[in-house]
Subunit: 412 residues, 4 copies
Amino acid sequence: MAPPGKELPYAAKISLTTPAAEQSCLHNRWHPDNPSVTTIPLNTATKIECVDWTGGQIGNNDSADDILNVDLTRVHYLTGPFDIEGAEPGDLLVLDILDVQPLQDQLWGFTGIFDKGNGGDFLDDIYPKAAKAIWDFEGIYCSSRHIPGVKFPGLIHPGILGCAPSQEILETWNTREAELITACSHMDRVVALPPEPQSVHAGSASAEIKEKVGKEGARTIPGRPEHGGNCDIKNLSRGSKVYLPVHVKGAKFSVGDLHFSQGDGEISFCGAIEMAGVITISFSLVKGGMTSISKNPIFIPGAVEPQFGAGRYIYFEGFSVDEHGKQHYMDATVAYRQASLNAIEYLKRFGYDDYQCYLLLGCAPIQGHIAGIVDVPNACTTLGIPVDIFDFDIMPKADVDKKDMGVCAKTS
Amino acid sequence: MAPPGKELPYAAKISLTTPAAEQSCLHNRWHPDNPSVTTIPLNTATKIECVDWTGGQIGNNDSADDILNVDLTRVHYLTGPFDIEGAEPGDLLVLDILDVQPLQDQLWGFTGIFDKGNGGDFLDDIYPKAAKAIWDFEGIYCSSRHIPGVKFPGLIHPGILGCAPSQEILETWNTREAELITACSHMDRVVALPPEPQSVHAGSASAEIKEKVGKEGARTIPGRPEHGGNCDIKNLSRGSKVYLPVHVKGAKFSVGDLHFSQGDGEISFCGAIEMAGVITISFSLVKGGMTSISKNPIFIPGAVEPQFGAGRYIYFEGFSVDEHGKQHYMDATVAYRQASLNAIEYLKRFGYDDYQCYLLLGCAPIQGHIAGIVDVPNACTTLGIPVDIFDFDIMPKADVDKKDMGVCAKTS
Amino acid sequence: MAPPGKELPYAAKISLTTPAAEQSCLHNRWHPDNPSVTTIPLNTATKIECVDWTGGQIGNNDSADDILNVDLTRVHYLTGPFDIEGAEPGDLLVLDILDVQPLQDQLWGFTGIFDKGNGGDFLDDIYPKAAKAIWDFEGIYCSSRHIPGVKFPGLIHPGILGCAPSQEILETWNTREAELITACSHMDRVVALPPEPQSVHAGSASAEIKEKVGKEGARTIPGRPEHGGNCDIKNLSRGSKVYLPVHVKGAKFSVGDLHFSQGDGEISFCGAIEMAGVITISFSLVKGGMTSISKNPIFIPGAVEPQFGAGRYIYFEGFSVDEHGKQHYMDATVAYRQASLNAIEYLKRFGYDDYQCYLLLGCAPIQGHIAGIVDVPNACTTLGIPVDIFDFDIMPKADVDKKDMGVCAKTS
Amino acid sequence: MAPPGKELPYAAKISLTTPAAEQSCLHNRWHPDNPSVTTIPLNTATKIECVDWTGGQIGNNDSADDILNVDLTRVHYLTGPFDIEGAEPGDLLVLDILDVQPLQDQLWGFTGIFDKGNGGDFLDDIYPKAAKAIWDFEGIYCSSRHIPGVKFPGLIHPGILGCAPSQEILETWNTREAELITACSHMDRVVALPPEPQSVHAGSASAEIKEKVGKEGARTIPGRPEHGGNCDIKNLSRGSKVYLPVHVKGAKFSVGDLHFSQGDGEISFCGAIEMAGVITISFSLVKGGMTSISKNPIFIPGAVEPQFGAGRYIYFEGFSVDEHGKQHYMDATVAYRQASLNAIEYLKRFGYDDYQCYLLLGCAPIQGHIAGIVDVPNACTTLGIPVDIFDFDIMPKADVDKKDMGVCAKTS
C-alpha cells in the first residue's frame, strides 16, 4: 500500500457554528493595526478558509426575509490578515491562486437582491424589493430551485483580496470618500460608507486597538485602486496570478467574500453566489515591484475557464440613455444598466419573472463589456448571456414557449 | 477546365478617387428621407463597399497634421441606405455578417488621436495633441511602423450599422440630445452633436430633401439604443448575427466606419484601425420581431475569433477614483479611464511613449470589462492586453529592457 | 448562523490502508456476475471513491523499482459495479460527470514507464527501462520534482468507465481476442490479455462466482467498442456528458483508473498521472437509446477546460515511416510514434533526458491528432505540446540554454 | 482623397482557363531539378496563386461522373518551386501564413469520394462508389446544395507545402516506397505511387529535365517526414507559423492543394473542400535550424480559429475492432475507421444518406484524436463533430425528426 500523503497546510480554518464576530482569524475593516493571524511562508500552497460575506446571516430556505433584514454592519468578514514572509512596503505580493472551493459540508450558496431601504443595489429604483435564490453545488456545477432551467459551472473566485493599507493610505481613503459624501448630500442615497465603530471586528485585537480600528478602519465596501480589495472580478479564479501592492511590513494580506460564480458587474449588490469556502494560494514576492512593475493591482487570469464558444452568447446593447428616455453624457454605468434591463426583458419571455432574471444576471457568467466610450454623448456597453447555461433554447426566435418558472425566494 | 464561377453581387461600390461627398451611394446623416440606393433581396450574400470614416482625409504618411486639421463635418460617410426586400416597421432585420475585408488596392489603415481643440477624446485632458499610426495589412495581420514590436490579427468589423429612424424617433433623438446640450452648457466641452446643415450629404437626394436632412438629420456620432448605429462593438466580426429594429418601410439599412481592429472602448476617438473595405452580408427578417423578440439591437458574435488563451492577458484594474485622487460615485467611465492610464503606464516601461500606448489601446484587441458596479462608491473595471501581440515578452517582471521604439506620427 | 448543509452522498468509499483485493466495493474483471455494490438513484449527484489503478503498489519515492516489479495481475481495481435505478438492456446510461478530484489526504500521483519485460509500452523498443515521476497536486495544478520546469492544470478524468457486458458480449470479447493471440503467436510480445484466474477480485462474490469470474472475466485492459471501458480519453473531465450502452439489468456500472492528467495516446503504458480520487456523477437514462441513438459509447466534453490558446502549441508531425526508415502502409500508430519521437528529441534540447520527456508526453495535456489518413502510403499525425506548461520559453529558436534538469526516478 | 495603396506582390498567378499542364508556374512531381519560378525575398508578404488539386477536372454540377473518371496522373499541380533568398541546405525555412483565400472569381469548391476502382479511399470497401458535393463560399462560410442543413466557417489551409528533396532524399523515398510495393504485392490495392512519367509536368523545364523528373520525381501523394509535403493538416491556416527543412540551395519551395476546410483525417481521399485560391506568406530563415531546432517539419497554429466551445462537440469512439468484429492489434487506423463509421451511423438518423455523411466528415472541421494507444490490443480514437455547424439540433435525443435531405452528386 502506498503511504497516505499529507493534506496541504491551513493558514486559517473557520467555524460555521461560531458567530463570525467571535472568530479571531476574521476581521471586517481594513486597518494597518489589525493583528496578524499567522505568518505564511513563501512558495508554499496554503489553504485559507473563509465565511460567506454575511457571516452566516442568510439561510437555505425559501424566504427573503433574511436578506430584507440583513445587518449590514456585520458583513464582509475577511480571513486574515496574514503576514507574508519577507514582504515589505514597495513590494508586489504575487498570488498564485491554485484552487477555490466551497466548504465540503456546506454545498450551497445564495444570491440576493437587497431591499432599497437596506443596502439597495444597481437597479433598485426599478426592483426595490428584497429577493433571494439558493444555489446547490454539485461538483463544479450549480443549480437553483428558485431559478429553474439553469445550470452552469462556477468560475469560483474571491470577491475581496488585498493587503492592508498604510496609515497614510487609510487617511487618503477616508478623506476622499468623506468629500464625496459631503458633495452628494443632496442625493437620496448612500453614496459611500464612512468608518463605523458599530459591529467592528478586529480579530484578536486588544480593546484599545479595536476601538482605533472602529474609528478609522476603512469599510470593506468598495474596492480601492491602491490595494484592490473588494474588486469583484469574476475571472480571478483557479490558475490566476495576482500582483498586489504591499503597503505595510508583512503585507497583512486578507481574503474573503468567496463567490461560486458572478456575472460581470455583480449587478445585484449581493449578486454573486455567495458562499463559505476555502482558497488555496501560493505566495511569492517581487521586491520593489511597485516601482519596477506597477503601483496598482494587476492580474493574469487562469487558463482554466468555462469555454462556451464565442458564438454561444446573446449580447444586449446598452447606451447612456436611461429608461426614462433621458440622455446622459458618456456614462458607462447608465449604459450598463440599460444593457441589463434589455437582457432582463428578453429573459422574461421564457417565463421568468423580473427578480429571477435580475438574480441570474448577477451570478451567471455574464460578459459585460465597455464597447464604445468616445462617441458623444452615448457610451455603449454590451452584456452577453451564455446560451448553454439554459436547458432549453433561448436563441432569438419569434415563437417562444412560455414556461412555468416558479418564483425566487421573496419576503413574507 | 472548370468553368469560372461568378463573384458575389455588389449592392454598392465606392471610389477611392472621387470625393465622398460626390458619391451617390454614400450619406452622412441618419434620416428617413435619405433616398434608397437599391433594394437588396433576402437570403443573398451581398457585398457592400465602404469608405473609411473620414472619407479619405487621412494620408499614409508620418505626419499627424491631417488628424489635427480633420474636417469633422465631413466624416462618417455611410454606404446606403438600402431597402431590404419585404422589411416593414416592427420587424427585426437579421444580418449574417459573412465577411469583412479591407479593399485589396488599399491595404492600410490608421488610428488617430484627435487634438483636444478639434474633436478630442477619452483622455484628452492628459494627452491633448493629435497623433497617428499607420497600419499595414498583410493578410489577416496588421503592423505599424509607428508602433514597432506589435503584430496582431484583425477582428475586422463595421463600427456603424443600423436602419433609418422614423421621423418620430428622429425627433426623440434631437430633443433628448438638445436637452443634454442645454443642461451641460457650463461644461467646457462638446457633449453632443446637434443637426448640422454644413457638409451634409444625402446621397442622391434632391436639394429640397437634402436641406431637410441637413436641418433634422441625426449625426452619425453616437450610437443610439433605438437602432444601434455607431455602436463600435469590436466583436461584430465575421460570422456574427445581428438583429436590428426596423423603423421605416424597407428598413433603409446603412453601414460604414469599417475597422480592421478595435479595442473595447475605442479609447482614442478615432481609436480603431480605420479603413476602406467591403462587408458581405446576407439579410433576413423576423416579421414583427420588435414585439416578439426585442425592441433593441441584439447580436451573437461569430465563432471565428483570435484565441489568445485565457491566461495570455495582463489585466489592469480601474476604479472610480480619478488621476487627481478625486472620488467619483459609481462612475464606470472614470474607472475605465483609470484602467487605461494604468495600462499605458505599464507599457511605457518597454520604451513606448505615451501616445504610442494610447493609440495601441484604442486599436489592439483589448478586453474591457465592467467587473463590479455595486460596491459604493467605486465602480471597478478591468482592461486586458493580450501579451501575444508583442514580439517580446511583456509579462510582469522586475527587470525590463527598455527599447528604442521610435515615435508615432506627430504634428509638425 | 446558517445551518451547515450536508455533503453529497457516497455510493462507495475506499480505504488507502486496506489491500484493494480485500475491499468489497472493488473488482478487477468485467463480468455480468460481479455482485452489485449498491443501487444508485437517478438524477442524484453521487460520489464514488476509487483507488489508483495499481491498487497502491507504487510509492511516493525516488526509485522506479516498484514500477519495475509491479504485479500486473493486481491492477485496474474498479469501484463497483453499481446498479442504476431502472436501467435495462438496450438503454443508454447517461452520466453527467460533475467533478473529479484527488483524495484530499493523498495529494500526489505518479506516471510510470514499464520495463519492457514487465508490461512494456508504446516506445519500449527504444526506451526499455522502467522509470517514474511523482507529481504533487496543489489545487488544480501539478508539478514534479522528477521533471522540473513544468506545471499544469489537470484535466482530471476517469481512464475507465463502463457498464458490465452481457454473457454473450463477454464471449464475443474472449473469442476475438483469443483469435488475435493465436494469429500473432509469432510476435515477440504480449498482444492481448486473456482471462486470468490469478489475483482475480470479484468484490463480495461467493467463491463459486469468483471462480467463474476468474475463468471468464474480461481484463480491464483494453477498452472495447461495446461498452467503452478503458478508453483513456483525456477530455472526459468535469462537465462531460457520457452515453454508455447498457447490456445487463441494472447496468452494473463501474469506474476507476482516475487520471489527474493525460496526454492524447497516454503513450507510456502507465502514462497518465495515476491517482486515487473521487468522482461525482449524476446518472440518468435514455430508455431504448441503443436503438434510437447509438449502439456505441458517445460523449460530449465539458465546457471547462484549460485554454492555452490555439497559437500556444508546438506541433510535431509523424508519418508512417518508422525510425529505421522503413515504410509502413497507412499506419497511424507508427505515425504517432514518430510524432512522439520528434517531440522527445525537441524537448531534449532544453536539458531533459529521454525518459523525462517520455513521461511528460504521457501525462501533460498533449493534443494528438490524426491529420491525414488517405494519402498512400503515409498516415500523417500531429502531436501538439502546450508551451505554457513550461516556466521557460520552448518556442523554436536556434540558441537554447541547456539546463540541469535532474533525473526522473529510475531503477536501482 | 488618400492615395490608393498598392496590392501585395504576387510570386505567381495561375489561369483558370489554360490547362494546368501548360502553365509554367506549376509542376506535379517533387524533384530537385524542377526549375525555379522566381526568387522570393525574405520578410515580404507574398501572394501565391494555386489551382485546385485536380487542375480543374471537376465541375460545378450535380453529377459525380467527373470524380469517377478523374485522371489521377494529372492531379496535385503545385505552384512553384520558388527560390527563397539566402536559403541553404540545413536551414529551416520559416513560413508565416498570413492569409489563405479562394479566388474571388471562383467562389466554390468540391469534396469527392473516389470510386474504388479509380483512387479509392478510407472507407472504400463499404462505400465503393464515386460521389461529390459542391460547396459555395460566402465570405468565410460555406454551404452545399448537396448536403443541406450545414454551414460552417472555413479553416482555410494548404494541403501541400514543402521544400524540394535533395537527390539523395529523393532516392531514399523511391527506395523505401518501392520496397513497400514489393512487400504488399499480395494486397488487392494500390499501396504507394511510384514515379510515373505519364503526365509529368515540370514547369518550364527542358525536355531532358522533364524526362528525368518523370523517371525519378516523387509523387505528390503522400506527405513525407523529411519535408512535410502532402501533410493535410487542417490547422495550418491563417496565422500559422511553419518550420520546413531545406534540402537544396534556394529551398525550392512549393505549395498547393488548397482546402477551404478539412476534417481531421480527410477521410475521403478527396475529402477536403478542394479549391483554387491564393495564399499569402512571409518567409524567413533559421540558419542551420535543422541541427539546432528540428530535422522534421514543425508548426504553430494561428490564434484565429473557429471556437465552437469545448462542450459543443459530439464525440464518437473507435477501437481497433473492425466492422466485421475482427480484432486488430493496436491499429489506430482501424480505430479511426470505426469512429468514422459510428459518426456516419449517427448522422443518418437525421435523414442524410451514407455518402452525404461520408463527404461531410471529410470536409467539416472534425476533431480526430488518438485517445489511448497503449492498452493492448485496442487503440482508442475519438472523432468529434461540432454541433453548431448544423442548422438543427443534433444533440443526442431519443426522438429524431428525420428530414428529407436530398442527395449528393452521384454518378449517372
